[in-house]
Subunit: 201 residues, 2 copies
Amino acid sequence: MAKPIDFYFDFSSPYGYLGSEKIEALAAKHGRAIEWHPVLLGVVFRQTGAVPLTEIPIKGDYSRRDFARSARFHGVEGFRMPSRFPIPTQAPARIVLWAKAHDPAHTSAVVHALYRAFFNEDIDISSPDAAAAVAARAGADAKAVREAIDDPAVKDALKVENERAMAAGVFGSPFTVVDGEPFWGVDRFDQIDRWLGNGGW
Amino acid sequence: MAKPIDFYFDFSSPYGYLGSEKIEALAAKHGRAIEWHPVLLGVVFRQTGAVPLTEIPIKGDYSRRDFARSARFHGVEGFRMPSRFPIPTQAPARIVLWAKAHDPAHTSAVVHALYRAFFNEDIDISSPDAAAAVAARAGADAKAVREAIDDPAVKDALKVENERAMAAGVFGSPFTVVDGEPFWGVDRFDQIDRWLGNGGW
């Protein structure tokens, strides 16, 4: 089996959410699996001096319009901007890292449940209790994931994940790496599709 | 005839160049013409606090890779990064505004000649003499366009063009407006195609 596709994302990223809804089908089309990499853009942005898109004058207004339009364009239903945005995403990110290590069968479902809770249902998943309850809906052990959020080993794992992401050149969300080739944005999925089909061009 | 599509671009923008090579065919497919709007991103960026993409740590390296990969993806041949980049683009922008007013039959050809000179041949079109010589290749009157660059009326026209662009919400290049709907980037051309076909979605 070919190497999995590395999908880096922040739970507070609207384009990351759209990407999360499309990447598995795209990968499966080419016989690939997904390796989920939750990252903290707040930390990553310190490297590049970036600020959240929605906080930039003029561009912020455009981006809100583009999020919703792009959701419709890509056939992702139910998208709406959360009332609190952006949010810190340590809690859901730690849950995903815990799931990858201890409950891999539910990892994808947990990622989708958390993202949809935030971008469809306006549930503030920065709250550890809320994030754990959402993960439990997706089949994860409620008590275990709630404890994982405060577990020093899981906290460290997220720091390591972020360091590795930055070392791999990740500076935004979604950020997809296919056999060493980096693609930033859900708007590069057409290029990823061709890359996977042709082995580059 | 339906309203022309407004295409805003800076001559120092690689994605603007790629867009300039694709937008006419896309518009023609839907029975539309193009209204070319040269703008100065240096002025526009003051509004949003943006800096040139290639000057951002990490993101700059990615963007150079993405320029070339996207050129190949979109079938734009001959792309190469100019040895001096970015450049001030008053000279070519003023030529285009002069052409729109005095030589509309050659405007598109002049836009393409200037962009290709910079992104294929590494000609520094920030130089008034070089820009005028390139425009002349495309059928413009060499003496008239050279004089236009220093003409106070043309300088004012460019200032007005920039003000209007910013008032229309333009913050990057390429920036395409279809019947009031804004699309930033050559990576929104798939959305433009559907928008033109469906009248929105």
